[in-house]
Symmetry: C2
Subunit: 273 residues, 2 copies
Amino acid sequence: MTRTVFFISDSTGITAETLGSSLLSQFEQQKFEHVIVPYVDSIEKAQAAVEKIDRVAKESGEQPIIFDTLVNADIRAVIATSSGFIIDVLAHFLGQLETALGQKPSSTVGRVKNADRDARYKNRIDAVNFALDNDDGARINRYDQAQVILIGVSRSGKTPTCLYLALQTGVFVANYPLTEEDLEERRLPRPLAEYRDRLYGLTIEPERLSAIRSERRPNSPYASLRRCEDEVRDAEALFSRFGIPYIDTTHASVEEIATRILVETGLRGQRSQ
Amino acid sequence: MTRTVFFISDSTGITAETLGSSLLSQFEQQKFEHVIVPYVDSIEKAQAAVEKIDRVAKESGEQPIIFDTLVNADIRAVIATSSGFIIDVLAHFLGQLETALGQKPSSTVGRVKNADRDARYKNRIDAVNFALDNDDGARINRYDQAQVILIGVSRSGKTPTCLYLALQTGVFVANYPLTEEDLEERRLPRPLAEYRDRLYGLTIEPERLSAIRSERRPNSPYASLRRCEDEVRDAEALFSRFGIPYIDTTHASVEEIATRILVETGLRGQRSQ
């Protein structure tokens, strides 16, 4: 039986859903239907949400679960009248933080805006543009501005990883595809030579690589298992020869790959907020 | 006085940091230093984290705050020996969910892997590739596969929004830049005509647009305020004439823009998990 879960927020709902999904993944036998209700910033919208929750409760005969990150007490009070099981994400921890910090929380609806946050946001967007400009070795003259340069064979996961890092953390990441020619020469491609300490390698199991490439170009030499095996072997040999750290992306998500890179390069260890 | 906040996780730390940042933003007078400690999946790593926390506590004379999303009880017990103020994110809510669902949570470290999740992940990566292939009107023959087509003048925010939607939600989004020629013709660009119901417009204040364009091409006609004003006015007129919904991106983050689009197009209302 599928249980309906509502994520109710006065903003995007991303915090509620991130936490909620993580918690729900601990209940493996249960199937969940997610309903995200963002921008609940008025009594009217809260009442509409309650109607929806009550309708689901009635139709399914099961109590819906509600993850609520509403800040405004009046709006929260409306949600509390629903027949759902409410998990009040903020209230519990805000009380704890008030104790720890010896300060009262402000009750701003949504996210606080300030110059600091705007600057960080601009940095993220600049990093996305940088990643796109420096994707696939397209404009190799800006490597001096890169904090990390991802290298790997075609379709080893460089581009999604770059974009994730840029969007989420504002790190400037370029990427360079190792071509067959690069690999045959058994040395670092010329544009990378002076940035050796910023290089990070991606590798992948040849079978998986062949499957990914086959989706793009079925039955091509490019997608053949033989060629994938050769390229991956040569790329890993190159990483070892030049002491370039690398990660196998076969079973890792972009979140996992990005986190490893940030930790190993020291870029995530610490940042101010 | 800056307070140090640790986010400790057996996985990427993304859940801990998302929730923590949201909570901390409620304490506006306080400055925080974020330290993310991911992949704490052994007693040894937990002990290393405790040493780090205790060092910060001693050096700063302030009790660090710890957001902990560890699942393993033994590892959590080690963190509990630190001198930090611990906010145990999962334990509190897992207990509540256990009550609501009448089931015990599993205690898998990290995220549960299953075929369902793999399929969703593949969909996200496919959506990123689709967004890149269909960026800036590059390959307009795949619009039939797009769930949404973002349109707007150059640098109105189309590309970061597309990439965010793809990476986070797996929605297939293309984008099409409205050129001066398109705008002068006062009709929908030919490649878009048959997909009118999938179009979503982005607009932006001319002053902001001019500032963004000036970073790319300083003192160019392209970046001039006059030209930005003309383009924005014509784009908004086009949206109105053809009944295309649109959003002003000037003061909105990609998260906010993406959420609005998902809600208004009905793509986010509901999804299974």
